[in-house]
């Protein structure tokens, strides 16, 4: 078997950083193999992908020692567009990897840039979409596609390029179950066609039977390099030690074990009746809630497919959007939108959008109203960081800072919007514990997520929205 990728003694250090992102890596990927690379957040997975497609060092400047070979080429010595003819990359965020507003144009983009004949590009698009049975996604406005459909288009665009090697960097981290299923199906097609694939993921269960080999990275080193069968047979203890998400769908059932019946749910909390919300007159309602009770002191998990109105629900229940019909009561008292907004706090999927101050301490006192900052940072594991700039914190710390701002503002209702997309096992557990603590304080806590593992970990009440 010929070698698609060969790394020997590779060490990578980013410019301006003292730590090595990867240390002394020896790795071979054979042509026709599907290899999964996984490990904790920050273990060096993305750096490894960047080495192969050339983004490291071309876009992310780094010092590389050792030898990197991709189909006989050294990515650091080639131009990025030359590497792009050999390696097709699909990245995790469907929102920022598209250049075109139309799905067919997106699939043609790489070929057009390479100066291929338009007719050849059209034939390739037709052949690939036929083979992957996704002709119904041709010619669609990208803005109207779901996250899962966008990732399918991205994978098809990669296939139209007919590369020697596919690099998929956490392709499912923003997707719901049906999106993951679609990616799984396409990956199966690629594998059957004998393609060489390098994929990183935190979600592992869906890749069982789709990969040949698994590499686990730990702080920049290879902790494990084994055949897939051996990896998926790991016991739970070893898996947690490596900081990995669960390996099968069955372990820890999808329906929450801790869910309590309505009778036990305790009094108080948020009660919703006859609610409907539409973006504009003439459009069908984006959200309809006939009855909903979100109890105080419990963690309520809201699940449902992409586009079912989960995010709209958060906007309406937190007072960011005004519903056209319906009442919302808190502990029996009806609240209007303003009153609701004053007592709620949403921890957004991208927390960077809600950090405004230049210090952690300042973040707690920014905003209107009374603030209770005593001991808040300490309680959230941010002690001693009061003077730091929020953007110098890690992703997990920033999430906790957003929660700290909610606690300081004495928010009674705390909403989490997809808090664990792209997070490893430890990150997911940390969110679960945070939610639990907020609920134990007697707040109303709502988590909107399609992360079944998170739901199983912390849900007291589960609400399904949509189909």
């Amino acid at each position: 078997m010929s070698e698609a990728v060969r790394l020997s003694g590779v060490t990578v250090r980013y410019a301006g950083s003292t730590d090595e992102a990867l240390r002394d890596i020896d790795l071979t990927l054979h042509a026709g193999e599907v290899m999964l690379v996984t490990g904790r957040s920050g273990c060096g997975k993305s750096t490894l992908m960047g080495l192969v497609n050339g983004l490291v060092p071309h876009l992310h400047t780094a010092e590389i020692s050792g030898k990197v070979e991709v189909h006989g080429l050294t990515p650091a010595d080639e131009e990025l567009h030359q590497m792009g003819r050999v390696v097709s990359t699909v990245s995790q965020n469907p929102r920022t990897q598209f250049f075109c507003a139309d799905s067919t144009a997106e699939m043609a983009f790489a070929g057009e840039n390479a100066g291929l004949e338009p007719d050849l590009i059209r034939r390739q698009i037709a052949a690939v979409t036929e083979r992957l049975s996704m002709t119904r996604l041709l010619g669609r406005p990208v803005a109207q596609l779901s996250g899962g459909q966008k990732q399918q288009v991205a994978i098809a665009a990669a296939a139209v390029n007919d590369p020697q090697l596919y690099v998929l960097d956490e392709p499912t981290s923003n997707l719901d179950d049906s999106g993951v299923e679609a990616v799984r199906r396409l990956l199966g097609h690629l594998r059957e066609a004998g393609s060489t694939v390098l994929i990183t993921e935190h979600r592992l269960a869906f890749l069982r039977r789709l990969v040949d080999r698994v590499v686990v990275l730990d702080r920049g080193r290879i902790a494990m390099d084994v055949p897939a069968a051996e990896f998926f047979a790991l016991d739970d203890e070893r898996r947690r030690e490596l900081g990995l998400r669960r390996l099968s769908e069955e372990a820890g059932s999808a329906s929450p074990a801790g869910a309590r019946s309505t009778a036990e749910q305790g009094a108080g909390g948020l009660e919703v009746e006859g609610l409907s919300y539409r973006y504009r007159r003439g459009l069908p309602p984006a959200l309809v809630l006939d009855r909903l009770h979100v109890p105080r002191g419990r963690v309520t998990v809201v699940t449902g497919p992409n586009g079912a109105g989960k995010s709209t629900m958060v906007r309406v229940l937190s007072g960011l959007a005004q519903p056209q019909r319906g009442t919302i009561r808190l502990d029996g008292k009806p609240l209007d939108r303003r009153a609701l907004l004053a007592c709620s706090h949403v921890v957004m999927q991208d927390v960077n959008r809600q950090l405004f101050s230049d210090t952690v301490e300042g973040e707690l006192v920014t905003g209107a109203g009374r603030r209770q900052t005593e001991g808040v940072l300490e309680g959230l594991g941010l002690d001693g960081m009061g003077e730091r700039h929020p953007m110098s914190l890690s992703g997990g710390q920033r999430q906790r800072l957003a929660v700290a701002a909610a606690v300081a503002a004495e928010a009674d209702l705390v909403f989490f919007d997809e808090p664990t997309s792209g997070l490893d096992h430890d990150g997911m557990l940390a969110i679960a514990q945070l939610a639990r603590r907020l609920a134990d304080d007697g707040r109303v806590v709502v988590i909107v997520t399609h992360d079944q593992e998170l739901a199983a970990e912390c849900a007291d009440v589960v609400v399904s929205v949509g189909r």
């Binding site: 876009l59 990025l80 390696v87 250049f99 139309d102 983009f109 057009e112 953007m391």
Partner: protein
């Protein structure tokens, strides 16, 4: 609707005329053309905003002309300048929000426009919706913190509002830009060598008409055909 090429031609020509110090009321003709474009694209709200802007600024300029004295005169000139820049901006906004990067690149490829000119503009076109989404989310976050009470609070604390809005927006744009750059470069965007396109553009009768109107406005601006 219209072809990218005729739109770019019209907007660039009329913007130059509006901003140039020509002795004629070229701005009124340009306003009429923009109103027709907004009508053709059924952008009712934008049309209304444009009319309101024209009434307020031109009305103010007219009222100021009734008065006398150096201060009033200077104010009148300032308002007229503001009007011309606003109109030029409105043209630009129309083009940026209506033209999609794919069609723009296709047109530029057809016309053999060098990549160093076309690529940055295409990136800007691609970036507008991303920045808008980012801005909306940040405004939500500001409302949640009570940093933004309503339109009045923007007027009362313009600098504070701008600071809270602009800094996270720039940070978000840089982040999104990094990812977009990575994706575009890996797929050979901006690489040397000739680009092709599978997009078929249609240059129709409407485009010819639009360009003729533009040429006519330009001719009037330079005084051709008038004595």
């Amino acid at each position: 609707m219209f072809d990218v090429r005729s739109l770019v031609f019209t907007v660039v020509t009329l913007d130059a005329l509006v901003l140039a110090a020509l002795p004629r009321r070229i701005d009124l003709l340009a306003l009429a053309v923009l109103m027709l474009l907004l009508l053709a694209y059924r952008l009712w709200r934008q049309l209304l905003a444009l009319v309101a802007l024209a009434v307020v600024l031109l009305g103010a300029a007219w009222l100021l002309r009734l008065g006398s004295g150096p201060v009033v005169g200077a104010l009148g000139i300032a308002v007229l300048y503001l009007w011309r820049y606003s109109l030029a901006g409105a043209f630009g906004w129309f083009l940026i929000t209506r033209v999609r990067p794919t069609e723009f690149m296709a047109a530029m490829t057809r016309m053999r426009i060098p990549q160093f000119l076309a690529v940055p503009i295409a990136v800007v076109l691609r970036f507008v919706p991303t920045v808008l989404t980012e801005g909306r989310a940040i405004i939500d976050a500001m409302r949640m913190r009570g940093l933004l009470g309503g339109p009045l609070s923007v007027l009362r604390h313009p600098i504070r509002t701008a600071e809270y809005l602009v800094i996270p927006m720039l940070a978000g744009a840089v982040r999104a830009g990094d990812e977009l750059t990575a994706s575009a470069l890996c797929r050979g965007f901006g690489s040397p060598g000739r680009r092709t396109t599978i997009v078929q553009l249609h240059f129709g009768v409407a485009d010819v008409a639009l360009m003729l109107v533009t040429v006519a406005v330009a001719a009037y601006g330079f005084g051709v055909g008038l004595r």
